[in-house]
């Protein structure tokens, strides 16, 4: 990844973080820390990985992105607006009745959302079906699925991981936002999560989820003859020091708190 693109993506990530805090502030509810841990991975995916056409969201040859980490929906919305799938004005309607931006991404309402989320842990199964159906297309479309740690507690995820048909799909990549907020063992070395995927013959790589160059290298290192997992080690509330220290205090934001968080972001976010 060249330095110009890296600089550009870092700027986008800053804008996305600013939009996330503002959206949740305007809506008065939403998960800030979860959205901020996901922001860099999403900016990187939409800026340097996914083959997509924002002006033609349903282009048949696009890579599919199944967003399963429902709590980070504000970060996805900010990235989609930034990429031009819809106007930024829509961001301020987040969670309001009639809005295109529901609490959790809804494929029937929001351009650029390939599959709805909200019910945890359904994304990997949906991605399995998408990848199996798209495998024989020309050019073969890839499927990326983004999950957080809560999603990995759901049994349905592991029905996919252990499925012998799924593990053969080289066009299927699971990206885990490993921010350590929920699952025990996130800080252990080696990460027990890696072993769980490896035990069922998935290819596993790991990178700092806030370092786009490292994410790029880790993705490139994965073989394409079987299903892949990229574990992105992240920090909940990344970019806002007080949230990084206490990432669970993040659901309801009043105006003062929103302003304080934005100031903190501007001061220490880079």
């Amino acid at each position: 990844m060249d330095a110009v693109l890296l600089e550009e993506l870092a700027n986008r990530a800053m804008n996305v973080r600013r939009d996330v805090v503002s959206m949740i502030g305007v809506a008065r509810s939403g998960y800030v820390a979860s959205s901020l841990s996901a922001a860099d991975v999403l900016v990187w995916l939409y800026g340097a990985v996914l083959s997509i056409r924002p002006e033609e969201p349903l282009w048949e040859g696009r890579d599919r992105f199944v967003f399963d980490k429902a709590s980070a929906s504000p970060a996805l919305y900010a990235v989609l607006a930034e990429r031009g799938f819809f106007g930024r004005d829509a961001l301020w309607g987040y969670r309001r009745m009639g809005s295109t931006l529901q609490a959790f991404a809804d494929s029937r309402r929001t351009p650029g959302v390939d599959a709805s989320c909200g019910s945890l842990g359904m994304g990997p199964g949906v991605s399995f079906g998408l990848a199996a159906a798209l495998r024989d297309m020309e050019p073969a479309a890839r499927v990326f699925c983004f999950v957080g740690e809560n999603e990995l507690s759901e049994g349905a995820v592991w029905e996919v991981v252990t499925d012998e048909n799924a593990r053969r799909l080289g066009n299927l990549t699971l990206i885990v936002d490993r921010n350590g907020l929920r699952v025990s063992g996130a800080g252990e070395s080696p990460d027990p999560l890696e072993g769980r995927f490896k035990a069922f013959s998935w290819a596993v790589a790991r990178a700092d989820g806030h370092d786009m160059r490292a994410l790029d290298a880790a993705l490139a290192s994965l073989p394409s003859d079987r299903a892949r997992v990229l574990i992105a080690a992240t920090t909940g509330g990344k970019g806002i020091p007080s949230l990084e220290r206490n990432p669970s205090a993040n659901f309801l934001l009043d105006r003062q708190t929103t302003d304080d968080l934005l100031k903190e972001l501007e001061g220490g976010g880079r």
């Binding site: 599919r64 019910s119 399995f128 998408l130 029905e159």
Partner: protein, 311 residues
Amino acid sequence: MKSLKDAYMDALLSLAGTRPDLFFLDAGVGAACGNRFGREYPERCMNVSAAEQNMVLTAAGMALAGRCVYAGAYSSFLVGRAYEQIRSSVALPKLSVHFASFHAGLTAGEEGATRQMLEDISLTRNFPGMAIFMPSDYTSARALLCKAADLEGPSYTRLGRSERPLIYAPGDSSFRVGGGRILREGDQITLCACGIMVKEALKAAEVLDQQDISAEVIDCYCLSPFPARLVLASLQRTGCCATAEEHFLPGGLFEIVAGLAAREYPVPVQPVGVKSGFGQSGSTEDLREYYGLTAAQIVSAAVLAWTMRRR
């Protein structure tokens, strides 16, 4: 006598040639993958074994990629275990996924209470936009399963386990979404039945005829959308009704018909269905006797409704 599992496989075989977008998933039932269909179209079917949640989600993903997907599983595990996957990933986005539900009801027989799903209609009927079929025989099951492929949203078809006599002539294909069929005309009581109880309703109509009560028998093979106008027109002719279903009374055919009557044309409606709790192991015939799913029970319910009618 023909099984509805054969109807499923035959419907898939007849569809596969004309619909290259069709795909078939199987959660260890062996209804598509392990038999003739799987041998002829190995690239068009996949068995995810006993992982119903995974099967439903995979079907949703394939439908999002533009496929029309049939997914077969045992009823309890499909509707029970994977209910939320059906709700969030298929029904809510209205995807073209067609569920075939095996071993439902008392026809699961010796398999016992965990397999004898008697609340599947109640659960699936609540999904807005999902077509619900409960065919009575091979002919109607095959025709309805073929019709499902043209739907823009999802469907659920209850296929039991046992072999059944034919109600309809082989090749009859005049079944439709939102339809029912008058199998016998009468003007003194309406008998609404679905699934295995259609045959019993026809037997009951013979008995009622000997008592000079002329019964109209309607096969309510489509439970959602319900053939309301057909049934309502019959209620207006007869003024009373009995229903018969292999299902718990809450949420099934009885409540559909009683609700329709209450809203549009109040007449007495008496039910035949499973009233005494979960099932148990036993032969289907013994269980049907024990739980009251017989022609004799339909006759009793019909006579009660008939005596309650307004004169």
